[in-house]
Every structure is written in structure tokens, then in C-alpha cells.
Amino acid sequence: MISHTDIAYLARLSRLAMSDADLAVFMPQLQQILAYIEQLRALDTTGIEPTAHVLPLRNVTRADDVGASLPQAAALQSAPQVGDGFFCVPAVIE
């Protein structure tokens, strides 16, 4: 059973603000998802390789050749705040 504390923790990890009204909506949905996972868990998977990727692709690589980057102005254009070629963000203090 998922608790309020679990949801609050997940919300904080995901940086999502959750009101009590939101919780009321998402709690039952998450319960259902977890219930489904429980069903899957009941299957015997002994001897079955874990799936690393759903497609049968392996070793998709490219040569180490330089390609075009974006112009600086284009790189910055969607940022809410920029200056001197940098993205500006709230002060981060460690």
C-alpha cells in the first residue's frame, strides 16, 4: 500500500508541487499501477534474462567526427534568463 509519505517523497524527488486535491487524484491511480506491478511480480521469471532494451538493437554507435553545434543565441533562446552568453539561474550555494 502506498502512503501519503511515499507520494510526498516521490513528489519532492521529482520537484512536483502536490496539493491535497492532487494527492486525492493521483493516490488511487498510483495504487492501480502498483497493483498491476504486483501481478507481474507473481510470475515466475527464473532463468529469464532481464530486458535491457525492448528493441533487438545492439551497438548503435557513430564515428568520432565533429558536427555542427547550435549558434550561441539559438542555444540560449528558450531560457527565461541569460547574460554574457550564459544561462542565468537562481543562486546555488553549497
Binding site: 535491457a52 551497438n59 548503435v60 565533429v66 553545434s69 547550435l70 550561441q72 550564459f86
Partner: protein, 487 residues
């Protein structure tokens, strides 16, 4: 009181020196204007898809083999989630449970004894961007040029027991990786970074004490100092019956001590899962063996070969193989005709001193190995004196990159070995020094020695010194009184 021992494990990140980033074709280059080596992939724009750089994968496999690791038959990338302004996707592409390399070892020398330190794993991951704090206190700024730079994280087993051992591990690792040529390994520029996990326990106990992670050490000496401080701090605390708090501490490079980060101890919950945008990688035994065949000759083997092949002292052989570039410079000089001994002497004594004084690396050296070999040949054929070579030819070669022959011709330094000319100088020197003449006639044969300086001055340093000595001995004999008749 119980004796305590330290238990140290190191996590080293090295930036790979590929031309492009790990998952996009942006330039992997340090020092460009901010946010100019960026594209939708490394900016984390929606819909952009990463594709693995095969050179970075090859570097990872090479490094794994260098560290005697097992290369995984099957490896994958995973997402590691956290929020920070230098991480635009809000996850870092890393490797969780199936790294490219695992279970290796690195041999270090500790008190001249070889010791094997276990390597837990080597995995590939992408670097984050650079976050800088505005001095004015306004806010922080972000440059994403570094985002997506290929990194290898090399994790050691907790098998190091002193700051000296950690230091030896790091210097050996740096030397080997530089030899491989996959990274510049420059800790000051951030292409090599090190974090340490440290705990203490009473000697004889085999379980581990509570460990503390130390970050922010920006030189090998800094690692040594931080570990020394931290081991002493923990030993004192444990001896006094206090518990060690599991935490991350930062090394304060000014006060030379570790300080608790005091960040909220929110247990790391990175919610790793396989990255669905990247296909897994496989490595066959044949592929691994093909890579193994491309590994360069490593320092120890090269040192032993140099000592044997060129009859070098252990000291010279060690020095000349300490960096791959130097070993190659030395071999190229020998290949261009110099004897191993002469090449070793000139490189160890003159070239390295000049490079250090000028703060240059061997890659920036203007003297080519062939030119150095030519200069050595001029000395050995007596065309120039070794003093002239040292004082007049070598410094000009070093400063201008000119060929030794051109400098010798331009400065007129060609050594004079013509007996007639040298005899003329010796006679002139005798005439200029009546006191020497008087000493000779009174039987003081040693007085002739003072003529050497006068002859060298008259010849402007060009007279062949061996020949000068011989001609002085010959020409002054006439002035000496005859030896007494045997009775």
C-alpha cells in the same frame, strides 16, 4: 590504546580526449566561449536522441584492459536522476549494474614493494556542465559546453591504507592512462578528478568502519593532505569513543582540513533505470583481444627494455619512460643516429632543464629528435666542442628551432683540429706568458697547464681541447732542462 588503520577507496573520473562528446557530435573542447559547443542532445531538448561515440567506447575498453579488468560481454547505459542547474536533462547518462569493465587491479609501488590494488569497476558516463557563482551575489550562471563530455569513472576497492598509498595509486593511474593516450589527466584543468571514501578501524578488525566521502581535492598533494587530516580526525574521534557520522566532507584547500557539507542528508535516490534511448553494447572475446593487441608498451616494460637495449642506468631509464612522449622522443633521437647514452644525457640533463625553465612541455619543444641527434653527431665527430654545444648551439636550437649545422656555421663554431693552427696558437700563448716560459726552463713542467686557457682564448674556444693539451705538452718539452743523466 588500540592501533587504528585507515581504509581508503578512491573514485577517479577521467575525461576522455575524444574529438566529440559522448552522445552528440559537438566538439569536446575546453576553453571556448560559453554555450558554443552545444546542440539539442547535450542541451537536453525534448525529442533529441543520443548516439554513442565509438571512440569513447574503444577508450573505455582499452582502459579496462590496462587495469586488468574483465570486459563485459554485455553492457548498457542507465539514467541517474537528480536536479541541478548544470544537468539540463535532470538525469545523467551513466552505467549502473552492467559497466563496461569490472574486477581488475592496478599495481603500485609502495616503499619500493609492488602491491596490487583491486579495481572494482570502470564505467562510462557523461560529464555535467559548469556552474559558476556570481561574485556579486546576484545568482549563478551555467555554461553547458562541458555537458556530455565522455568520462570514465574508475572505482578502486577499499584496499589503500595510507595517504602515501593513495598518492602512489593516483600517480600510477595517471601515468598509465596518459601512456594509453585516452586522457590528458590534468587535475588542474579538471580532466582528472578524485573523490575518496575513508574509514578507520582497529588493526586486526576485518569489518569496515563508518565511511566518510571527501570531495573537492584538486591536486594529488591535496588528496594526500585531505586524507591525512581525515584519518587523524576519525582516529581521534573513535579513540575517544565517538561515532563517525556517515557524510560528505569538502576539503578546504586554504585551511587544509575537511569540513562537513551539512547538506540535507536526503538519502541519495537516483532512481536508475536502463536508458531506452540507447541500445546495449556487446563485446566479443575476439573484439577484446583485438583491442588488447593495440595497447602500447607500458612504462615498466619500456624501462626494462631501455635499460637493457641502451645500457642506461636505472635512474635514466625510469626518467625517460616516465612519460610516453619523452620515451618516444628518446627513441626517435636514437633512431636518428645518436647513441643511447648520449641521447639520454642530453635529454635528461639539458633538454628537460631547459623545458622546465621555460615552462614548456615536450610537445612544445622546438628541437626535433633528428636535430638533437645531428648536434650529438657534431660533438662526437669533434666538429664542435661539447662546451660550445652546451653553451652556444643547444640554447639557440632550443629558442629558434634552427638546425645545429646552421648555428655552427653562422657562429663560426666549427672546432679547429688543424695541428699547424694549434701550434701557432701555442707559440703565441708562450710569447704572451714569459713567466710560464721562465717556470718551464727552471724545470716546472706543470706550468705548461696554464697555457690551455690562453690557447682557448686565442682560438675563441674553437681549438680541439684534446689536441691543445697534446700540442702544449709537445712544444713545451723543448724548454724543460734535460733530465739528469743516470749515475
Amino acid at each position: 590504546m588500540a592501533q587504528y588503520e585507515a581504509v581508503i577507496g578512491l573514485e577517479v573520473h577521467v575525461q576522455l580526449n575524444t574529438a566529440t562528446k559522448l552522445f552528440c557530435r559537438c566538439r569536446n573542447h575546453f576553453g571556448d566561449p560559453p554555450n558554443t559547443n552545444v546542440c539539442p542532445v547535450c542541451l537536453g531538448l525534448p525529442g533529441a536522441l543520443p548516439v554513442v561515440n565509438q571512440a569513447a567506447v574503444a577508450h573505455a575498453v582499452k582502459t579496462g584492459l590496462l587495469l586488468n579488468c574483465t570486459i563485459a560481454a554485455f553492457s548498457k547505459f542507465d539514467r541517474k536522476h537528480y536536479f541541478y542547474p548544470d544537468l539540463p536533462k535532470a538525469y545523467q547518462i551513466s552505467q549502473y549494474d552492467l559497466p563496461v569493465c569490472r574486477a581488475g587491479w592496478l599495481e603500485i609501488l609502495l616503499n619500493e614493494q609492488p602491491r596490487r590494488i583491486g579495481i572494482t569497476r570502470v564505467h562510462m558516463e557523461e560529464d555535467a556542465g559548469k556552474l559558476m557563482h556570481d561574485e556579486g551575489g546576484g545568482g549563478s550562471v551555467v555554461d553547458l559546453n562541458r555537458t556530455g563530455t565522455p568520462l570514465l569513472e574508475i572505482v578502486s576497492e577499499p584496499e589503500l591504507h595510507s595517504p602515501d598509498a593513495a598518492y602512489a595509486y593516483l600517480t600510477t593511474l595517471k601515468q598509465l592512462i596518459s601512456y594509453l593516450g585516452v586522457s590528458d589527466c590534468n587535475m588542474e584543468e579538471g580532466s582528472l578528478r578524485c573523490d575518496a571514501n575513508v574509514s578507520v578501524r582497529p588493526v586486526g578488525v576485518t569489518t569496515l568502519g563508518t565511511k566518510v566521502e571527501i570531495k573537492n581535492m584538486n591536486s594529488f598533494k591535496g588528496v594526500h593532505k585531505a586524507l591525512s587530516y581525515e584519518i587523524e580526525r576519525q582516529t581521534k574521534a573513535v579513540s575517544a569513543g565517538q561515532a563517525i557520522v556517515q557524510e560528505t566532507r569538502l576539503f578546504d584547500t586554504v585551511q587544509e582540513k575537511t569540513v562537513s557539507m551539512r547538506s540535507k542528508e536526503e538519502a541519495h535516490d537516483y532512481r536508475y533505470f536502463p536508458d531506452p534511448d540507447l541500445a546495449p553494447m556487446t563485446f566479443s572475446a575476439a573484439q577484446v583481444e583485438a583491442v588488447r593487441a593495440t595497447l602500447p608498451e607500458l612504462p615498466r616494460a619500456r624501462k626494462e627494455r631501455f635499460a637493457a637495449q641502451f645500457a642506461l642506468s636505472d635512474y635514466d631509464a625510469t626518467l625517460l619512460t616516465s612519460e610516453r612522449a619523452m620515451a618516444e622522443y628518446f627513441e626517435a633521437t636514437v633512431q636518428a643516429g645518436a647513441s643511447g647514452k648520449a641521447a639520454a644525457n642530453w635529454i635528461a640533463n639539458n633538454l628537460l632543464t631547459a623545458l622546465n625553465a621555460a615552462h614548456l612541455t615536450l610537445a612544445q619543444c622546438r628541437i626535433t629528435p633528428a636535430q638533437l641527434a645531428d648536434m650529438i653527431a657534431l660533438v662526437e665527430s669533434n666538429a664542435i666542442s661539447s662546451t660550445n654545444a652546451k653553451n652556444d648551439v643547444f640554447p639557440v636550437m632550443f629558442a629558434t628551432g634552427a638546425s645545429p649545422q646552421a648555428i655552427v656555421d653562422e657562429k663560426g663554431l666549427r672546432q679547429v683540429s688543424d695541428t699547424t693552427q694549434i701550434d701557432a696558437w701555442v707559440r703565441a700563448a708562450l710569447e704572451q706568458n714569459p713567466a710560464v716560459m721562465a717556470a718551464l726552463t727552471s724545470g716546472k713542467a706543470k706550468a705548461a697547464g696554464t697555457l690551455v686557457g690562453a690557447v682557448m682564448r686565442l682560438s675563441q674556444g674553437k681549438a680541439n681541447p684534446a689536441l691543445v693539451n697534446a700540442r702544449i705538452a709537445e712544444l713545451t718539452r723543448a724548454y724543460l732542462p734535460p733530465p739528469p743523466e743516470p749515475a
